[in-house]
C-alpha cells in the first residue's frame, strides 16, 4: 500500500496569490493513496523541508509530491530532502504550479483548477515510480577551452593554477583574441597589450597548458566527465616545434599583398607571416592562397632562408583525439558586418571606419605606427565624428535588438584619447543614450565631456555622404530640436558585436543551447550564469552575452571555479533515469542500437530456460547505464515494447495523460 504525501507551496504570494493553495491541498488529500496533504509558505525553506522530512518519518511515506515551482528549479532540493529522511530520491515528483500555472493565469478559480489537475497528474505518475539508484563514472581530469581570447586565457590559467591540465584550442594562428588588437582599455587607459601579453606568456610557459592554435573542433562525443573530442590541427606549413619566430622568412617573402587580418585589413602582410610581434606561439604561418610555392611551385625562398628547416610546404591537416572532463566555450565575438547599413557609407568611403579599425589606427603596432591618419590619404583628420549604436538596439531587423554594452565606453575612450593626443581635433559623438554603469565608468564618460570637451549630440544619423572632399554626417540633434550636418574628415562607426560565427557549430557539437541572437544560454540566468544546461559545458566571456573586459575576466574565473569543482571529483553520479530492456520481450532486432546517439546499447547472447529442462540461447539488448543519457529514443523505436525508460516509463507518462484528461 502506497503512502503518498502532498506538499503544496505558496511560494510567498507567487503561487498563493493566484492559486488557492489550501483548496489544492484539501482536494488532493482525497486522492487514493494520499495520506497527508500540507501547505506551507516556502517548501524550499529549512522549515518547509523539515515539514516534509517529518512527514516521511511520521507517516512512513513511500512517495512525495511537491506542488511548487519548476522541477528545473527545486527538484534536486526536494530529492535531497527526501533522501535525508531515508526515502529514495526518485520517489519525488514535482507539480509545476508556479511557472506553468500561477504566473501565467490571472483567474483564481481557473488557476486553482489547473493546479489540482497538475497535482493529480504528478500523483498518478508517482504511483508508478520505482526507487532508482545511479551508477558512477570516472572523471577525466583535463579541461578543454575553446577559444584563446582573454576569456579562454583567464579560464585556462585559473584551471591550470588548481593543478589540472588544460588545452586551449584557438582557430586563428595566435591566442589573444580581440583584446590583442585593442590600443588602450577603459576606464583606466592601460595599454591592452601591456596587460594581456604577460597572460599570454603565462599560458605558453605553464606546463599544465597545451595551446593548439590554428585548430578547430571537429567533433565532440561523450558526456560530462568523459568527453571525446577530435581536434583538427590545420596545416600552417611551418613546423611549430622547429620555428624560432626569427621573422627572416617574412622579410624575404616576395608575395607581400595579403590583407593583414590582425590590422583589420588596413595594410598588407607577406604570404608567410607572424600575426603580431607578441604572438603566442611565436611561430610563422603560410597563407596557402597567397604562397607562390604552394600555388604554382615556384619560389621556395622562405625554405631557403630558414636556418632551422621549419618550412614544410607539404604539411597536411592533422586530426587528433583527446579526452576531457569539462569543456569551456570561450569563442568570443566579432563586430557585425555593415552591409545592411549603407546609409553610413562604410563600403563606399575609405574614411568611414569601424571602432576596431580605429583601435588599429591608433595602436603603435598598427598600420600607421600609432599616428592617427585617414586611411584614404594618410592625412591627419581634423574633425572626427563618431556614430554610436550602429546595429545595436535595432529592432528593424537590419541589426541586433540588444545593446552591445561596450560601445559607449570605448567611444568615450577614443574621443578622450584623440583629444589628448591631438588637441586641435574636433570630436563629435552621435548617441541614442549613453550607458555607463560600472565602477568609475560614468566618471570616465563625464571626463570626456567636461575635461576633454567632446561634443555629444543626442540623435541618430540619417546618412553620410561626400561633398568637397569632406564626409558630411547628417543627423538630428534632439536636444536643440534641429537637423545638423557635420563636415568630417573621419567617421567612426560603433558597430554592434555578435557571437563569433563558429559558435553555432560548436553549440551543436556540445549540445549547448543557443538563443535567437546566437548567444549561448546559461543554465539559469541569475544563479548559474557560467554553466550551460548541458552538464560539463561551461560558458566564458562574450559567447554568453555582451561584456567588457573586467566582466569577461570575472566570468572566466567564475567559469574556471566551476570546472575545478567538477574536475576535483574522482567520480560522478550518472543519470539514474536510463533505459532498460525487458529480456523476455526483446527479439534482438538492433533497432534500438541504431537510434541510440551514445552507443549505449550492446547485445549479448543469453540462455533462457524454456521449461521441461530445455534451454534456448537468444540475442538480447543490454544498456550500459554509465553511457545511457536517458533520451528515450530507443523506447519508442523498439517494435516489441521491450525498451522502457526509468523515471519516464510508458506507464508513467500514460498515467499523466490519463490524469490530465480526466474530467
Amino acid at each position: 500500500m502506497q503512502k503518498i504525501g502532498v506538499f503544496v507551496c505558496w511560494c510567498g504570494s507567487n503561487i498563493a496569490a493566484t492559486v488557492d493553495v489550501k483548496k489544492v491541498a484539501e482536494v488532493l488529500k482525497a486522492e487514493p493513496g494520499v495520506v497527508i496533504s500540507e501547505n506551507y509558505q516556502y517548501m524550499c525553506s529549512e522549515n518547509g523541508q523539515a515539514l516534509i522530512r517529518n512527514a516521511i518519518k511520521e507517516h512512513g511515506l513511500t512517495g512525495v509530491v511537491v506542488c511548487s515551482c519548476s522541477p528545473r528549479m527545486h527538484e534536486a532540493t526536494f530529492r535531497k530532502t527526501c533522501e535525508s529522511a531515508g526515502l529514495n530520491p526518485y520517489m519525488v515528483e514535482i507539480a509545476n504550479i508556479r511557472e506553468q500555472c500561477s504566473w501565467i493565469h490571472k483567474d483564481i478559480e481557473e488557476a486553482t483548477e489547473k493546479a489540482i489537475i497538475l497535482g493529480r497528474s504528478a500523483i498518478a505518475k508517482l504511483k508508478l515510480n520505482a526507487p532508482l539508484t545511479s551508477g558512477e563514472s570516472a572523471v577525466v581530469k583535463r579541461a578543454l577551452v575553446i577559444g584563446g581570447g582573454i576569456a579562454g586565457i583567464q579560464s585556462a590559467l585559473d584551471i591550470a593554477e588548481a593543478g589540472f591540465e588544460v588545452d586551449i584550442v584557438e582557430q586563428s594562428p595566435t591566442i589573444g583574441g580581440n583584446m590583442a588588437k585593442l590600443d588602450k582599455t577603459f576606464p583606466t587607459l592601460d595599454c591592452a597589450a601591456c596587460i594581456l601579453t604577460p597572460k599570454m606568456v603565462d599560458c605558453a610557459q605553464n606546463e599544465k597548458i597545451d595551446i593548439m592554435t590554428f585548430s578547430e573542433i571537429e567533433s565532440v562525443k561523450g558526456f560530462v566527465g568523459n568527453f571525446k573530442v577530435q581536434i583538427r590541427r590545420k596545416a600552417r606549413f611551418v613546423d611549430e616545434k622547429k620555428c624560432t619566430g626569427c621573422g627572416e622568412c617574412m622579410q624575404k617573402c616576395p608575395s607581400k599583398k595579403g590583407l593583414n587580418d590582425f590590422n583589420m585589413g588596413l595594410n598588407t602582410r607577406p604570404a608567410i607571416y607572424i600575426p603580431f610581434a607578441q604572438a603566442i606561439p611565436n611561430v610563422a604561418i603560410i597563407d596557402p592562397e597567397q604562397c607562390l610555392k604552394i600555388k604554382n611551385g615556384k619560389c621556395g625562398l622562405c625554405a631557403m632562408k630558414c636556418n632551422v628547416n621549419a618550412i614544410d610546404y607539404t604539411q597536411k591537416d592533422e586530426i587528433i583525439e583527446r579526452e576531457y572532463g569539462a569543456i569551456v566555450v570561450a569563442t568570443g565575438y566579432k563586430p557585425i558586418s555593415l552591409e545592411n547599413f549603407n546609409e553610413y557609407g562604410y563600403s563606399s568611403y575609405k574614411d568611414v571606419v569601424t571602432s576596431l579599425e580605429l583601435e588599429r589606427l591608433m595602436n603603435a603596432a598598427g598600420p600607421s605606427d600609432g599616428h592617427l591618419v585617414r586611411p584614404s590619404d594618410h592625412k591627419e583628420p581634423k574633425v572626427i565624428t563618431f556614430i554610436q549604436c550602429v546595429g545595436s538596439r535595432d529592432t528593424s531587423g537590419c541589426g541586433k535588438p540588444y545593446c552591445s554594452k561596450i560601445c559607449c565606453m570605448y567611444t568615450a575612450k577614443h574621443a578622450m584619447l584623440i583629444r589628448e593626443k591631438y588637441p586641435d581635433t574636433e570630436v563629435h559623438v552621435f548617441y541614442i543614450d549613453v550607458r555607463t554603469p560600472g565602477k568609475n565608468y560614468d566618471e570616465f564618460f563625464r571626463r570626456a565631456v567636461e575635461q576633454y570637451g567632446v561634443d555629444y549630440i543626442k540623435g541618430m544619423v540619417g546618412k553620410v555622404y561626400e561633398e568637397n572632399g569632406k564626409l558630411m554626417v547628417q543627423g538630428s540633434d534632439l536636444i536643440n530640436n534641429e537637423q545638423v550636418v557635420i563636415p568630417s574628415d573621419l567617421v567612426v562607426l560603433a558597430a554592434a558585436i555578435e557571437p563569433n560565427p563558429s559558435v553555432r557549430n560548436i553549440a551543436t557539437m556540445v549540445t549547448a543551447s543557443i538563443d535567437t541572437n546566437n548567444f549561448l544560454t546559461e543554465a539559469h540566468a541569475k544563479l548559474r550564469p557560467v554553466e550551460s544546461p548541458t552538464a560539463g559545458i561551461f560558458l566564458s566571456g562574450v559567447c554568453q552575452g555582451p561584456k567588457d573586459i573586467p566582466e569577461t575576466v570575472s566570468q572566466a574565473s567564475a567559469c574556471a571555479a566551476k570546472v575545478i569543482g567538477l574536475l576535483a571529483k574522482d567520480k560522478l553520479k550518472c543519470n539514474a533515469c536510463v533505459s532498460h530492456s525487458d529480456e523476455m520481450l526483446c527479439t534482438g532486432c538492433s533497432v534500438c542500437a541504431n537510434v541510440c546517439p551514445y552507443g549505449a546499447i550492446t547485445y549479448v547472447d543469453k540462455e533462457f530456460r524454456l521449461g521441461g529442462g530445455k534451454t534456448e540461447v537468444r540475442r538480447v539488448a543490454t544498456v550500459n547505464d554509465a553511457v545511457c543519457q536517458g533520451c528515450g529514443a530507443c523506447t519508442v523505436a523498439c517494435p516489441s515494447g521491450a525498451m522502457d525508460l526509468k523515471g519516464f516509463s510508458n506507464k508513467q507518462i500514460m498515467a499523466e495523460v490519463d490524469a490530465i484528461c480526466k474530467r
Binding site: R72, E99, Q100, H105, T508, S513, V636, D658
Partner: protein, 146 residues
C-alpha cells in the same frame, strides 16, 4: 459556438522536452507571458520520448489537441532526438488525419529554452485554433468513460 466553448473548455496536452521547450515554458512563466489554462504540460526528457501511443491515448481520453515541443533542429540535447520525433509525428499525424482527427489538432513546434515569448505565442495560437475546431468527437466512441 461560443456558448458550447464556455460550457466545456478545450483540453490541450503539450509534451515538452526537458531541455528546450519545458525550459521555454518556464521562461514564459517567469516572464508572465500568459496562455490559456487549457494547456497542460507533460515533461519528457526529449521529444523523441513521445510515443505515438501517448498521443492516441490523449485523444481517446478526450483531449482536443496535442502539441509536441522540442529543441530546434540541430540543437537537440541528445543530438538527434528531435529528428526522430519529427519523422514519427509526421507519420502519425497523417494517420490521425485518416482517422478523422483534423490536422490542426496535432502540431510539432520547436521552442528553445530562450524562447519564452515564442512558447506563449505558440500556445495561444494553438489554443485558439482548438477552440475554433471545438470538441474532438471523432474518437468519442473509443473514449473510455471517466
Amino acid at each position: 459556438m461560443q456558448e458550447i466553448n464556455k460550457e466545456k473548455k478545450p483540453l490541450i496536452v503539450a509534451f515538452c522536452c526537458n531541455w528546450c521547450s519545458y525550459a521555454g515554458a518556464d521562461l514564459a512563466g517567469s516572464s508572465r507571458l500568459s496562455y490559456p489554462a487549457d494547456v497542460k504540460i507533460i515533461r519528457v526528457p526529449c521529444s523523441c520520448r513521445v510515443n505515438p501511443m501517448f498521443i492516441l491515448k490523449a485523444f481517446q481520453r478526450g483531449a482536443d489537441g496535442v502539441i509536441i515541443c522540442g529543441c530546434h533542429p540541430g540543437d537537440c540535447h541528445y543530438t538527434t532526438g528531435n529528428y526522430y520525433a519529427r519523422r514519427r509525428m509526421s507519420l502519425l499525424f497523417s494517420m490521425l488525419d485518416y482517422l478523422g482527427i483534423e490536422r490542426e489538432r496535432t502540431r510539432v513546434e520547436w521552442v528553445s529554452a530562450a524562447e519564452g515569448a515564442k512558447f506563449s505565442k505558440v500556445m495561444n495560437e494553438f489554443a485558439s485554433k482548438i477552440n475554433e475546431l471545438g470538441e474532438n468527437k471523432r474518437l468519442e466512441d473509443l473514449r473510455c468513460k471517466n
